[in-house]
Symmetry: C2
Subunit: 386 residues, 2 copies
Amino acid sequence: MDSKVLTYCCPTQIHLGIHALRTLPEIITRLGAKRLLFLTDNGVASTEIFKLVKNILEEQHLPFDLFTDIEPDPSHTTVEKAHQIYEKNKATHLLTLGGGSTIDVGKAVGILAANGGRIQDYEGIDRFPNPPVPLLAIPTTAGTGSEVSGSCVITDTDRSLKLSIRGSTLNRAKVAILDPLTLSSLPHHVAAHAAMDAFVHALESYVSLNANPITDAMNLYAIGLISQNVRPFVANRSNLEAGLQMLCAASLAGMGFSNTGAGNIHCMARFVGAFFHVPHGLANAVCLPYGADFNLMASPQKYARLASAMGGAVHGMTTLEAARTAIDAIRRLNGDLGIPSRLREIGVTENRISEMARLCFEANYNRWNPRYTTVEDFQLLFEKAF
Amino acid sequence: MDSKVLTYCCPTQIHLGIHALRTLPEIITRLGAKRLLFLTDNGVASTEIFKLVKNILEEQHLPFDLFTDIEPDPSHTTVEKAHQIYEKNKATHLLTLGGGSTIDVGKAVGILAANGGRIQDYEGIDRFPNPPVPLLAIPTTAGTGSEVSGSCVITDTDRSLKLSIRGSTLNRAKVAILDPLTLSSLPHHVAAHAAMDAFVHALESYVSLNANPITDAMNLYAIGLISQNVRPFVANRSNLEAGLQMLCAASLAGMGFSNTGAGNIHCMARFVGAFFHVPHGLANAVCLPYGADFNLMASPQKYARLASAMGGAVHGMTTLEAARTAIDAIRRLNGDLGIPSRLREIGVTENRISEMARLCFEANYNRWNPRYTTVEDFQLLFEKAF
């Protein structure tokens, strides 16, 4: 480690456990909420978990307004609509029941409610002066870690671009409830994509130029939890033990990458997602083996430890041998979860590769990625992955 | 894991790195401090690091008042004196440069400044209604993790008792700076005692009844960092790389135990410290092998993983065999650091054992300790350790 000064912060209070949702009334009381804007998507709104949360709010006689029109890769217009309801009804707090898209809309509404303006005004790092209004997040996927991360991603549909909005200490949920009951109605593929999203966060944060012993602790353990639990969890989303471990892994990875920045894989997935409307977790998962293989030479020791955390039998191997088994283990994991191995299988077309490579380079993930990556490198990475 | 709902929170923002102290001006600006109460002890006040911090404050033209009369196991009267200076000079923020004692005085002053009254009024959990005034902590030992923990310990000298004051979300430093330059003038034995304090925090939190995957991540990694770095660090406190790893380990362990509670070792050390004025880290270190051996049967799998995290060659062993090697490794570690193996060697007298056993039982660490412990068990533990 050189003499760079790094930072770690995660102020979210996490309540975790099977049936952790039963702490919702005490949390609402503690937060002093007078009226909630309750954000969810139409899929979640048809589940038993939604009814359970709604019943808890009604039993508490806590007024709330419901907004359910949240799409995957949510747009700036969705944020604006939700924000109008928040203002019109004079809500005091935000509640999200959903995956990364819903939490990100919650964060974006929280920024607008406290700062006014348009969400496009806040693209970048620490661009909003006032702390967002408090957000209570109940994730229904184990993936993004958005509940503890200092960022949200909103699609600017006017410009076909994903806006990345980050806040070093402000932009987290005030409270998160990790209850695996919320995962039990997840479709197989959504569970798999979200899990690999968390895996990519943990891996890219672990090898980031800003990695430090505190984030290493979280990322390495997250990788172990995912490696041990993702197969049983994706096989049966009602496996509450495995689901809880996966939720914790996703939060740990969120604490990690939001403090260190991500890397090439995340960067590639960002533009694949924006150009081809591929779910973020799936785009990450497909790019993962290629990006990991490219970065290995920057940090063989860390890749060897990654292999071990993934449960690999690396006893007696050299560092480089052990490191290479991590790439094999990643490919096997993707295969077991039914993740396609090529970008062409998820709708990417070859004619956009040069443009994506250029945008990846311009997005300057070289701030964080352990191997310096040129525009030509990105071109080759996309071609290999195509 | 059963269906208990557990919580995790650590809102402290951590700046870490060799020369991380250079971020002090930007932190002070961000916190909006108008006048500091600068707390340190007379030992630290004679070091180069103290001069460095003082110079930074003077260059910033930030007015501050200095209070240096902080003793080990600080008393309630020390807290009252420091608080009077805070009030008299209308300070707005607290700065501590020192180990656990100094940070704990800072926390206690912060509670009084925001809530009035006497520090004795706040013994227990969440007894102070107002958030303490903001504290910026620069630890000069790698041990207590007090900068990120939700507790402070103040000795009530009228009653010869240690007051444990805890706050579930409030009682942490706002910002902590982990810079190993602060460790380089530590005496050998202080470095060793502090390190074993951190080790005990990590171990007791890892096997706590409230342990969860998030705290496990921190504790297990802290144990690995300490096991790898404590010998080189204690051998040479100017080893900045090892020092930084130790500071991170102490903070990780602090994040762990302040969310899970501690266990028998901590409990025994608490009364050994209060009765015989033994430094807290030393008392913890001497009690450690006895308490660990007693608890092993409650969680052999975790002890096996502990052995592995400590660098043990457990390949091919059964869980129980591997678990037992952890106790051997702990005894070797204590031996290498020059920690006495018996309580009699650190001034404990046999005639107080029954009283300490009774107080340990009444302190009810059975809320957290993985093996239920009766007053007779404590009696036997003290006798074995004597």
